[in-house]
């Protein structure tokens, strides 16, 4: 580095190339959109993350369908029909962990310090995280669905059913996302966010009706599984994809995301402002 390259910086106030007219302050919406753009850029630069997002659900789908499918539902084909909506739910819930991990990483690296010292809408960075989440859920869900279709899965409700199912998945991802944002703000390392996240998720995902019909379980567990919000979501999603969903099922499925959002969004904002 020589003085020549530094020359222009020397006189920012007096009209060197580095001096600029300050643009007018942008709107909160514009700030939020910029963070959304950041999420898209990140996705473009780290396409490997797709691998993380879809490998586990793909393995689950293949294993369960071909290894257990026959035993659980009579034939792999029939089981896939039952299991695929569930694996979509599982994928979205597992992938919600990533927004917490991403937030924790940004906080740890000091990136949020920079954002917080800017005169911008203070919650704009979260809008970016949400956009990132939606992208992840949409892309991962799309891939799993495509693989399901290849293996012979058929959503009886057709395209409208699929669209409805994805809207529900987005709502679930949005709701569950708050849990991990809270964790991301509270713990220090991204690894811990992962560990915490999965500890919390595993019982909910496995003690649900995603993999098997709870009718075969011991009474106490069956009661838990029937009350588990993950089961409600899975039931509603199956209904949406097969065209048999009732408004009651969908409403029940939306309770948990709504409650999580109402409860945790203020917590996230308070923790963030306090940081």
């Amino acid at each position: 580095m020589t003085d020549m390259t530094l020359g222009p910086i020397a006189r920012p106030a007096r009209g060197g190339p580095l001096a600029v007219e300050r643009p007018p302050r942008p709107s909160a919406l514009s700030n939020a959109l910029v963070f959304g753009w950041r999420a898209v850029l990140k996705f473009r630069h780290v396409p490997e993350q797709l691998f993380d997002l879809v490998m586990t659900p793909i393995m689950f789908t293949l294993l369960f369908t071909f290894v257990f499918g026959g035993a659980l539902a009579g034939s792999p084909g029939e089981y896939l029909q039952f299991f695929l909506p569930g694996i979509l739910v599982q994928t979205v819930i597992f992938n919600s962990v990533y927004s917490g991990v991403g937030l924790c990483t940004d906080l740890q690296k000091g990136l949020f310090d920079r954002f917080r010292s800017l005169p911008i809408w203070s919650l704009a960075p979260f809008a970016g995280l949400m956009v990132g989440d939606l992208l992840r859920h949409g892309i991962a869900g799309g891939i799993i669905l495509a693989i399901g279709l290849l293996l012979g899965y058929r959503p009886e409700a057709g395209l409208p059913g699929v669209l409805g199912a994805f809207l529900l998945l987005f709502a679930v991802g949005f709701g569950v996302g708050w849990v991990f944002l809270v964790i991301g703000l509270l713990v220090r390392t991204p690894m811990t966010v992962m560990t915490f996240g999965f500890t919390f998720i595993f019982p909910l995902v496995f003690a649900s009706n995603i993999m098997v019909d709870p009718g075969t379980m011991p009474g106490w567990l069956e009661a838990f599984v029937r009350a588990n919000p993950v089961s409600h979501v899975t039931t509603a999603l199956r209904g949406l994809l097969s065209g048999t969903a009732t408004a009651g099922q969908v409403g029940l499925a939306l309770i948990a995301p709504a409650v999580l959002t109402l409860l945790l969004a203020p917590v996230v904002l308070a923790l963030y402002r306090k940081k």
Binding site: R14, V20, P23, H45, G110, R114, F115, L118
Partner: protein, 323 residues
């Protein structure tokens, strides 16, 4: 004494406590506009905490401050409009390219589309990063990262630029580069408040230096004034035999009744002396004890010796982080 409106930063009684740790225990600061002002202190002194409070990132537990005339408590958003902060650790998005990082910030400041792109490009050019602009930041060297981080603070020209340990971890060339960059900015009228553990850095750059330790300001002044505080002159002695360093230190201490400072490399002793007579007396005490003197000099104290005189502990050595 500078008037309030000539001050870029005016802070009174700043306090921040973490649990039982008093990170900053009541610091006053007056930084005139356009000056490079250095906060010098060892690890854990409270430098980062003080800077983060002034940059609106941490709410002070006590005290008040005005930055470019704007009140930190009442108008933090107003303060954010006139400051930029380059933190101790690079605050960049490692996954994005350098150009994208700058474009992101330019857009957050309100540059639109092409204007944001132009802004990013001219910053990259000015910081000698044009060629690396399309590389992801995670592939940058420490020096490139630091330059990009500082560039990111100049998307709009701030009134006050906070730099937290801007050269820690850089090699001497990169450090010199950052120094000339900081000087250039100050010439352009930007007030700079920087922290450092390197006495040499404060000496080189700063118009004024505040020395802090355990959350308190223990001295403030120009480099020359601080040096005067440590005594009018220093006697530096290098015993011929390294093994006699301890004994020599003891003899000097007894002869002059003053604390003897050992240079970080360990070969030199230095001790404040009033005049040549005192120096002579000290040297003859060494000779009397049969300690052979390899070399001796009289001179002004270095900032490191100043720090030792002020705190009773050795200061960090410039260059330590390169090891």
């Amino acid at each position: 004494m500078a008037q309030g409106h000539d001050l870029a930063i005016q802070a009174r009684g700043m306090i921040k406590t973490f649990g039982t740790t008093r990170a900053v225990a009541g610091i006053d600061l007056d930084v005139p506009r356009g000056m490079i002002f250095a906060i010098l202190g060892p690890n854990g002194a409270g430098k980062t905490t003080l800077l983060r409070m002034l940059a609106t990132l941490l709410r002070p537990d006590g005290g008040e401050a005005r930055v470019m005339g704007r009140d930190l408590r009442a108008d933090p958003d107003g303060v954010r409009e006139v400051i930029s902060m380059t933190g101790q650790f690079a605050s960049l998005d490692e996954d994005l390219t350098g150009r994208e990082n700058l474009r992101l910030l330019a857009r957050l400041w309100g540059f639109r589309g092409l204007a944001a792109r132009d802004r990013a490009d001219s910053l990259l050019a000015a910081f000698d990063l044009s060629d690396a602009g399309d590389k992801q930041v995670k592939d940058y060297s420490g020096g490139m990262r630091r330059r990009l981080d500082i560039a990111a603070s100049l998307v709009v020209t701030p009134g006050v630029l906070f730099l937290d340990e801007p050269t820690t971890g850089l090699d001497p060339t990169a450090r010199a580069g950052v120094w000339s960059l900081i000087k250039g900015l100050a010439q352009g009228g930007v007030t700079i408040l920087l922290t450092t553990q390197y006495l040499e850095e404060a000496d080189q750059l700063a118009g004024r230096i505040a020395v802090i330790d355990h959350g308190r300001k223990i001295a403030e002044g120009t480099s020359r004034e601080l040096k005067r505080q440590a005594g009018s002159g220093m006697l530096r002695v290098t015993p011929a035999l390294g093994s006699e360093l301890d004994r020599a230190a003891a003899v000097l201490g007894r002869a002059l009744g003053a604390a003897v400072h050992r240079s970080a490399e360990g070969a030199d002793l230095s001790v404040p002396v009033a005049d040549a007579v005192e120096a002579n007396w000290a040297l003859s005490a060494l000779v009397e004890e049969g300690i052979e003197i390899g070399d001796f000099r009289m001179g002004q104290p270095s900032l490191e010796e100043v720090f030792f005189a002020l705190t009773g502990r050795p200061g960090a050595q410039a260059g330590e982080a390169q090891a």
